[in-house]
């Protein structure tokens, strides 16, 4: 698994991420101590100094280029590019996996339907990333590593980038086997592994488990899913308002209404994934709103 040629970059990425996360936090801690002591950040002195691009920058670019090129050549000589059987539309491999860098999105399919996991969330990721500089008005921490001057921005980004994006890629590559079942690191990928499907929709919880309406699901889907729809609206609208009025009042005053609500909607959209994960793991919740008649499942 780990030694499969196409998986080597993912293992390499894991170690690179660990190293660079350590490096940036390490540098941030040094800078934070300097800031606390009322001194200039580590690289401020050198920021005052101008050097010529030729030779200073061009030289390190050149060295870097040679380094990467040597690595790439050695890699290409040692490992042959894999080629599988010819494409066969009637022979579906199990599991079928997306390209490795999209496995986080494919993992999201476990918890959300394709219209959310494959279309809405990726769009929100791209739009949200582009909007970051316009949402984050904190003038501090521009051009140096720091944590204390922007704890919220860095925590949110590290959570999204390391956990929700990269960890899910590693998870999807190494721990998801046939039928997209979970397999432990040394577990054999048994195609007959039984996974009990006992996930329940919120509406089924209300009407079947708690016996509302005599244990029968109402015929009208809107009536049936009314609680789920209400909860979703409360989450998408109510939580941002509560954040603005109560929990993040100071941030709201700093950002202003427009910036804050865009930030809040992006934030709770991001939080929607871990939230649904926890609901799935704890109470086996399948859908909060389940209207398969209109392909509308949340």
């Amino acid at each position: 698994m780990v030694a499969k040629p196409d998986n080597i970059p993912i293992v390499a990425m894991l170690f690179l991420l660990l190293f660079f996360t350590w490096l940036s936090i390490h540098k941030a801690v040094i800078n934070d101590k300097l800031i606390d002591a009322g001194q200039d950040v580590e690289n401020k002195k050198e920021a005052k100094e101008l050097v010529y691009t030729w030779p200073d920058l061009v030289f390190s670019e050149f060295i870097c280029t040679i380094g990467v090129w040597c690595l790439l050549l050695a890699w290409a000589i040692v490992l042959k590019a894999p080629l599988e059987e010819p494409a066969n539309p009637v022979d579906t491999p199990n599991p079928s996996k997306a390209p490795w860098y999209f496995l986080g999105l494919q993992e999201m399919l476990v918890y959300y339907d394709p219209w959310l996991a494959g279309v809405v969330f990726p769009t929100l990721i791209i739009v949200g990333l582009i909007l970051i500089p316009y949402i984050d008005t904190n003038p501090k921490g521009n051009g140096y590593y720091t944590f204390k001057e922007r704890p919220f921005a860095i925590t949110t980004f590290l959570f999204g980038f390391l956990i929700l994006w990269n960890l899910l890629i590693v998870y999807g590559t190494f721990l998801r086997g046939p039928n997209w079942n979970f397999f432990g690191p040394y577990e054999v990928w048994d195609i007959h592994k039984l996974e009990v499907l006992r996930n329940v929709n919120l509406s089924e919880y209300i009407f079947r488990e708690f016996g509302l309406n005599g244990g029968k699901l109402p015929d009208n889907p809107l009536l049936r899913e009314s609680l789920g729809i209400l909860l979703t609206i409360a989450y998408m609208v109510g939580v941002p308002i509560l954040l603005a009025r109560k929990w993040m009042k100071k941030t709201y005053e700093e950002l202003g209404a427009a910036r804050f609500y865009i930030m809040a909607v992006l934030l709770i959209s991001m939080a929607a994934l871990p939230l649904k994960m926890v609901l799935r793991w704890t109470i086996n919740l399948k859908y909060i709103v389940a209207i398969p008649e209109a392909f509308f499942n949340i």
Binding site: D6, P9, M13, L16, L17, F20, S24, D40, E46, A47, K48, E49, L50, V51, Y52, T53, W54, D56, V58, S60, E61, C64, T65, V68, L72, L73, W75, A76, I77, L79, K80, A81, E85, A87, P89, T92, S96, K97, P99, Y101, F102, P114, W115, G118, V119, V120, I126, I130, I132, P133, D136, N138, G141, N142, G143, Y144, A153, F157, A294, F295
Partner: protein, 263 residues
């Protein structure tokens, strides 16, 4: 002494002067000219903050990404000499490439380079975020960077498709099946019936998937692959264009670093 004399006379020759057009870059004026008068180097600023070229600060990831883009473009063009992007020939062309080209590592370089480029783009974004380098005046350039990141993934995605083996067809299928779930537009997305009612058909239907793009059996469009060819030319071209903007505006805004009042 004789050697120095030879170099000296070489530098004074008409041919040398016509190529380099400035003296050796050992004084300020010529260091400026070395960057300014070179079409490849002039995307750089002439001088920059010393802090901004420290490898421990930049991790060199942007530069590595740019270099890998060049590697991918060159090896990609070379591979295209041996390869026809159609369902009929693609696989056998790759086999032929493997069997008939002696000591060939072009496909290997191309493939591992593509993996590496995705990683280096991510690490570049990671670094830029953690140093707060997207903050004014670089907000717009961050946005271009996000578009470039998306383009990198799309470029790699088209590359996955090309060998037309089992990995390709099913990776692409997983990806393109999602398109059918697009709200309102797809045949399996929420609001699908709405658009169908107005327009009388689904915009993204069950036929519009990887097989269609690659001209495979299910799409039923024979051996032509217009969309794939389009992607093969359009993605690198737009990436190259945006990269030029990305680099130039990095240097216009100055490389990121702690704020100092210069002079």
């Amino acid at each position: 002494m004789a050697k120095a004399g030879f170099l000296e006379s070489l530098r004074k020759s008409q041919a040398w002067k016509s190529i380099f057009r400035h003296g050796p870059p050992n004084n300020s004026r010529n260091k400026v000219l070395a960057v300014l008068m070179n079409v490849f180097l002039h995307l750089h600023p002439i001088r920059m903050k010393k802090s901004g070229i420290r490898m421990s600060f930049t991790w060199c990831m942007g530069g590595i990404t740019f270099f890998l883009f060049l590697v991918e473009t060159v090896t990609g063009v070379l591979l295209m000499f041996y390869y026809r992007p159609t369902a009929e020939f693609a696989y056998s062309d790759i086999i032929a490439l493997r069997e008939h080209v002696p000591i060939g590592i072009m496909r290997e370089v191309h493939r591992w380079g593509a993996h590496l480029m995705v990683i280096s783009v991510w690490l570049h974004m990671f670094r830029v975020f953690l140093t707060g380098s997207y903050k004014p005046p670089r907000e717009f350039n961050w946005g271009i960077g996000v578009v470039l990141l998306t383009l990198t993934l799309l470029l790699s995605f088209t590359g996955y498709l090309l060998p037309w083996d089992q990995l390709a067809i099913w990776a692409i299928t997983v990806g393109s099946n999602m398109a059918r779930a697009t709200p309102f537009l797809g045949s399996e997305g929420p609001g699908a019936s709405l658009l169908n009612m107005i327009m009388g058909f689904d915009v993204v239907h069950s036929g519009s998937d990887a097989f269609c793009v690659a001209g495979g059996p299910r799409g039923g469009r024979g051996d032509s692959a217009p969309l794939l060819r389009f992607a093969l030319y359009i993605y690198p071209a737009s990436a190259a264009l945006l990269m030029a903007v990305h680099l130039a505006s990095t240097y216009d805004g100055g490389i990121s670093g702690p704020f100092v009042r210069l002079r």
